[in-house]
């Protein structure tokens, strides 16, 4: 601890930070621009100037930049010194010389850090009477607006985009007061983390395009604490609503998970909530199958249909890994465990149960995403994390950069001296080892990259475990090159102090999961502590879907199909699950046709819903509460952002409205049903939580128009919509201060209208929020622990057998996930349908780069383009999941491909995923 004096007052502060970090941690207000808690200091903006005094006798002092000055023991500074204040106001004045006076029409207005800092510095009168410089703006793709005239050149965007997120197509160009932050030419920003620019930019240069097309001021947005639905990481989000439309999603800080950043899928994938074609009324199809006719049916008839179905002995119900624990549990409870299927295919269920069992092993620790950032050596087995768990890739990028901070520490350079730290380390990084199917976006920062078929990835993993600990099962017949690779990787892992393993289910290979577990086990013996292993899982509640029942007790989807085919099952209820994404579509189609009754509860018109006799509109995540279990086994609660309209109800309320008074009762019942779920009730405070007698307001205290919006109908103010389901109210009345993090809808503090206000809620800068990290980790407890054993099912090496190629899944951040795919801006970034072939295989099949191919798989015919990729192993064919109907069922058999002679490349503007930089100067 160090003792520092600020304006005559003494503070005890932690060692090693700079003065800006320290002052903000102390709750003092000091304006800044170029500094960001995650990016460190560079001293560019000169905004955080304070007076520093050499000693008690020094009365003159000198101006220093707080962000560049260590908070060393004995430091004496003044924030209030008139000269320092004058200087800070002067800096704002200089920034304003080129900043337009367009706040009323700027999307950032009302949550603008520049506005806040201008207010704070007291610069109120402009004496600059000269011309302003003007820039031309660029087209940056479907996510981000560009308005360079507002730029104050704080350099945060490029430092975030290049240094933090690893992008290289956003650059600083030009010089002096013409510095320009953009691309070398118009075109889509290529980084899948570009959306964070909206929050990193202190003013309105980079704004959310999806938001500005349907715009509302921040103070008019109704928000709720929420959890991202588009992968299993469980990033915390704060969606905003007005007029019944979800307007945007911004980051909600969670120290253990997403920190300050989201991926673009999580930020821009919300369009499905507002979709015009969403089911909003109960729909019943009458008549025979040939002449289907949908009609809008009464809600009471629908509930009647549900309860009738649930009571039939020939009925089954299918839950979903993208639905909340509560919805799944309610379904399970309503129909009974024997007739409940969690909605997973056989293969998926095996994988997820394997993953859950691995997490319970005593020698394996479960790192939070933030823990990944602290590792010094990372091995990734089988996951293309930038496409399957994107924010994890950001964490891995920081982990490899940690070597720079360690080197800097050795050279006496504080780790917040961002430029100096990077300069010293240059290209030296902590080792990242990737054994994946094909190249990934992280290849350039990895020490070892191996591209293999899934079987061979698992074999290498088993061999690495054996190389680390000879008790681990060995792998026979490794090639000499592979043995050398294994030795190289073992050497890196043996040298590690804080090794970490990432694996996952994306290759649909339990062997890969088990091999990764063996490596963790081997390392844990060396570390003499559980070794951290993170398993990436496919959907937002995948782990919840398998924790709901005893392993092996729930039937997979194939059992349900068999039941239908045998005639034992004649009625089916499907909740928030599109079976066509999981099963052979031909077989499914036949089975569904055979059913007497199909009832679907969902918030989207899925192909499954299109086959249903009844479609009951379910609430999306934005209209209901629920609990999700993320890939680290953390249960987190999301809350309705706005009340559901029309017939829309949370799925569980369609099932049995009498069984539970509110969702808390349901959550409690779910928690009581199985030991691993016992603590899920602690994920957030219950609905009874009150802050002095009132619910927590979802609307900010400046929410406008409440009394005027419906004045044309009725001039008296209506009652606020009650919300019996949660501690939050659909209201602006109530006290929004001192909230537990799990209930804070949005971040705001007096004088801090932008997202930078988050530091007012952190225990210290970059630390956990006051009240602790929200959510509750379920799998850390001892009672979950299984017996420590080696996995020994080493698969045989991948071998090409016959002319058919082995299909292996590929993933795309934009396009592979079901719900985000429904959002127009995400679709605009989605690749055209294709399959990936190794050039040798393509040559053998006489298929060229401009050709298309025909094949049949999973009950479908495909005719798609070919991408030749030398980075995937020969003998395999890469299938991009989610694109053109490719799903897990497409992968069940080796594929016989043939050249499609009548194939034409799609017409139109071409592939939206091709960036402007690729098409050259033609633009």
């Amino acid at each position: 601890m160090a003792k520092i004096i600020v304006d005559g007052k003494q503070y005890q502060v932690p060692d090693g930070n700079n003065l800006l970090h320290t002052c903000l941690s102390l709750g003092l207000n000091l304006p800044y621009f170029c500094w960001h808690p995650c990016l460190g200091s560079v001293g560019a903006c000169r905004q955080c100037a304070v007076k520093q005094y050499q000693n008690d006798g020094d009365e003159r002092g000198r101006i220093v930049m707080a962000c560049m000055t260590p908070a060393a023991d004995g430091t004496r500074i003044s924030l209030e010194d008139p000269q320092a204040k004058d200087f800070r106001a002067g800096i704002i004045e200089l920034l304003m010389t080129n900043h337009p006076h367009d706040c009323p029409v700027c999307e950032e207005g009302g949550e603008c850090h520049l506005q806040d800092m201008t207010e704070m510095s007291g610069h109120t009168f402009r004496s600059y009477a000269q011309t302003k410089r003007t820039h031309r703006n660029q087209y940056l793709g479907p996510f981000i607006n560009h308005e360079m005239n507002r730029c104050i050149a704080c350099y945060r965007c490029v430092r975030y985009y290049q240094d933090y997120a690893g992008g290289d197509d956003l650059q600083m160009l030009g010089a002096h007061h013409h510095v320009y932050f953009g691309r070398h030419c118009d075109g889509t920003l290529e980084s899948p983390f570009s959306g964070n620019l909206v929050e990193v930019c202190p003013t309105g240069v980079f704004t959310d395009k999806t938001f500005s097309q349907d715009y509302t001021r921040k103070w008019d947005l109704q928000s709720a604490p929420s959890v991202c639905q588009h992968c299993a990481l469980g990033c915390n989000t704060s969606p905003g609503e007005r007029y019944g439309r979800l307007k945007r999603i911004v980051n909600r800080y969670h120290s253990d998970i997403n920190g300050y950043f989201l991926c673009d899928r999580g930020r821009f994938g919300y369009g499905f909530v507002n979709a015009e074609q969403r089911p909003r009324q109960v729909v019943q199809r009458a008549g025979d199958n040939s002449g289907q006719q949908a009609q809008i049916a009464a809600q009471s008839a629908a509930t009647e249909a549900v309860s009738t179905l649930l009571q039939q002995s020939d009925a089954m119900a299918i839950g979903s890994p993208r639905a909340s624990l509560e919805n799944n549990f309610a379904l399970l409870h309503s129909i009974g465990p024997q007739r409940f299927c969690p909605g997973l295919s056989d293969a998926e269920q095996t994988l997820l149960e394997t993953a859950a069992a691995i997490y319970r092993q005593p020698d394996i620790g479960i790192p939070s995403p933030a823990d990944i950032e602290r590792a010094d050596t990372i091995i990734i087995l089988g996951e293309d994390i930038i496409n399957t768990a994107p924010v994890l890739a950001l964490k891995v990028r920081q982990a490899v950069r940690n070597l720079a901070k360690a080197l800097a520490g050795g050279a006496g350079i504080p780790d917040w001296q961002d430029a100096a730290v990077q300069e010293l380390a240059q290209q030296r990084r902590n080792p990242l080892i990737q054994l994946t199917f094909g190249a990934t976006a992280l290849d350039p920062i990895a020490a070892v990259n191996g591209s293999r078929a899934p079987e061979d990835i698992a074999r290498l993993g088993f061999a690495i475990a054996h190389g680390l600990d000879s008790e681990a099962p060995p792998v026979s017949d490794l090639t000499a090159a592979d043995s050398e690779l294994v030795a190289q990787i073992c050497a890196l892992l043996k040298a590690a102090q804080r090794p970490l393993i990432i694996s996952g289910s994306s290759l649909l290979s339990a062997a890969v999961l088990q091999a990764a577990a063996n490596i963790a086990k081997a390392l844990s013996r060396k570390l003499d502590a559980p070794c951290p292993l993170h398993q990436c899982l496919p959907e937002c509640n995948s782990l919840g879907a398998v924790l709901l029942q005893e392993p092996g007790s729930s039937p997979p989807l194939e059992r349900v199909l068999e039941g239908i085919e045998s005639g034992a099952v004649r009625r089916l209820l499907v909740m928030e699950n599109d079976l066509y994404r999981r099963l052979d579509s031909e077989r499914l189609e036949r089975a569904l046709d055979k059913l007497e009754q199909l009832l679907v509860i969902d918030h989207q018109w899925t192909p499954t819903a299109a086959k249903a006799d009844w479609v009951l509109p379910a609430a999306s995540f934005a209209e209901a509460e629920g609990t999700l279990i993320n890939s680290e086994g953390r249960a987190q609660r999301f809350f309705a952002v706005f009340p559901a309209s029309a017939d829309i109800r949370p799925a569980w309320q369609w099932l049995d409205s009498g069984a539970w008074d509110n969702i808390d009762a349901l959550t409690r019942a779910c928690a009581a049903s199985r030991a691993p779920l016992a603590t899920i009730v602690e994920a957030a405070p219950p609905a009874a939580f009150r802050r002095p007698g009132q619910q927590v307001p979802r609307m900010p205290h400046r929410y406008s128009g409440r009394t005027a919006i419906r004045a044309n109908i009725q001039v008296s103010e209506p009652r606020q919509t009650p919300d019996p389901m949660s501690a939050l109210g659909f209201t602006m009345e109530g006290d929004a201060t001192g909230l537990p993090p799990a209930l804070r809808p949005a971040s705001w503090a007096p004088g801090w209208n932008s997202n930078q206000s988050i530091h007012k809620f952190q225990q210290e800068i970059n630390g956990p929020l006051v009240g602790g990290p929200s959510g509750v980790r379920l799998l850390d407890d001892q009672f979950n622990v299984a017996e420590a054993t080696w996995f020994s099912a080493v698969p045989a090496a991948f071998q090409l057998s016959g002319p058919a190629l082995q299909p292996v899944p590929l993933y795309h951040i934009f396009g592979s996930e079901e719900l985000s795919q429904l959002a127009a801006p995400i679709r605009a970034r989605q690749a055209d349908d294709y399959i990936a072939l190794h050039p040798d295989d393509a040559a053998a099949l006489q298929i060229g780069a401009a050709d298309g191919v025909n094949f049949r798989a999973g009950g479908r015919e495909f005719c798609v383009a070919v991408r030749l990729r030398a980075d995937i192993p020969a003998g395999t064919v890469g299938l991009p999941m989610g694109l053109g109907g490719i799903c897990a069922a497409t992968l069940s058999q080796p594929l016989a491909l043939s050249r499609a002679f009548d194939w034409q490349p799609p017409l139109g503007a071409g592939n939206a995923n091709v960036f402007a930089s690729d098409s050259g100067a033609a633009l």
Binding site: V42, G43, A44, C45, R46, Q47, A49, R62, I63, V64, M68, F87, G90, I91, L94, L95, T97, N98, S127, Y128, A129, Q130, T131, R133, I152, A153, Y155, M172, G174, A175, H176, H177, H178, V179, A411, G412, I413, Q417, A419, A420, E423, L424, A425, Q426
Partner: protein, 418 residues
Amino acid sequence: MTDRPLTQHIDLSRPPYDLAQYEDVGGYAGARKVITEMTPAQGLEILKDSGLRGRGGAGFPTGVKWSFVPMYNTPAPTKYIVANADEMEPGTFKDRLLMEGCPHLLVEGMIVGAYILQANIGYIFIRGEYIEAAQLLNEAIAECRKKGYLGERILGGDWSFELHVHTSAGRYICGEETALLNSLEGKRATPRAKPPFPQVSGLWGRPTIVNNVETLCNLPQIVLLGADWFKQLSLTDDAGTKLYGVSGRVNTPGCWELPMGTSARELIERHAGGMCDGYQLKTFLPGGGSTPLLLPEHLDTPMDYTHIGKLGSRLGTGTVIVIDDQVDFIGALKNLEHFFSQESCGFCTPCRDGLPWVEKALHNIECGSGSRADLDWLRRATWMLNMGNTFCAHAPGAMGPLDSALKFFPDEFERRLP
């Protein structure tokens, strides 16, 4: 013993010496001596004793600067020595004379310096417009490589050294040593925060010394003839000779090697042949565009770091810019500030946004459309853009002439207000 260690072999009426000619007149004796007879520590000791101060403008004692470079036992990781030949200071043309007049002197200076530092790689970061100098240096380096002064195990010892010429793409800020290093690495020429200093973490994060061409050119004779000889060359306490230059409305503008501490009067009146007919000396910048103005009353002050510093100005590069009584004073000042404004790297706010405003305010005053607010801003700018308030010394340098102009010639500004 010469009293002109820098220019003794320079004769612009003939091509510069090639290697053989240079060796014939004693060239590379300094390099041979330091490599074969001295340890690096002994070399550094002589350098410290000599009192040589950096000739790039800051005047920091070279030996002290070099002593911060870590010395390793073998195997030694890479260290760098860089010659700052990015001569872009307005009114400065001294390094050009050295490089065009005797390229081997710089090469020898870098070899001597690199040996003392035990650096393995050297760069001459040369201004892009110095095409002839770059070509001459490349030829000199090629000759040395052939002869064995550069390359592996030089003169049979353990030490190896390679030297490259890097032509700048042209920014004034590249003359700032840390911006130069960024530029050399292929990055934007933005200065770096210090600490860490380049001696510890410089080029590509390795220990690096950056020195001006003139500084390095002094080294061969210092190691050959000793510290005492070097000190006695000077008229004052700042050792050695200095390349002085004069530009402006004088009869014979030029550049001369003279004892350190020669007065501006002697420079202007004797060497530059006095003011042109009909022009009076109004004021002068003692060492390039970024040095505060001096007045005729300062003409007899010895031109060295200490004495000029005491007057509130800086010796800078030692190349005097003469401003006469008939030049448009505000226009000249605006021209200067226009240069600094254009050459700002754009990194820190006061410099990036302050200098264009300074230029615009001066423009208004020059055109007669200025206001009291413009003048108020100019005064405020000299504080806002002062040393410590900005990221590097660029803007404070730009404020040097403005601040002194406001101090010495307030009427020039007042007179032009409408």
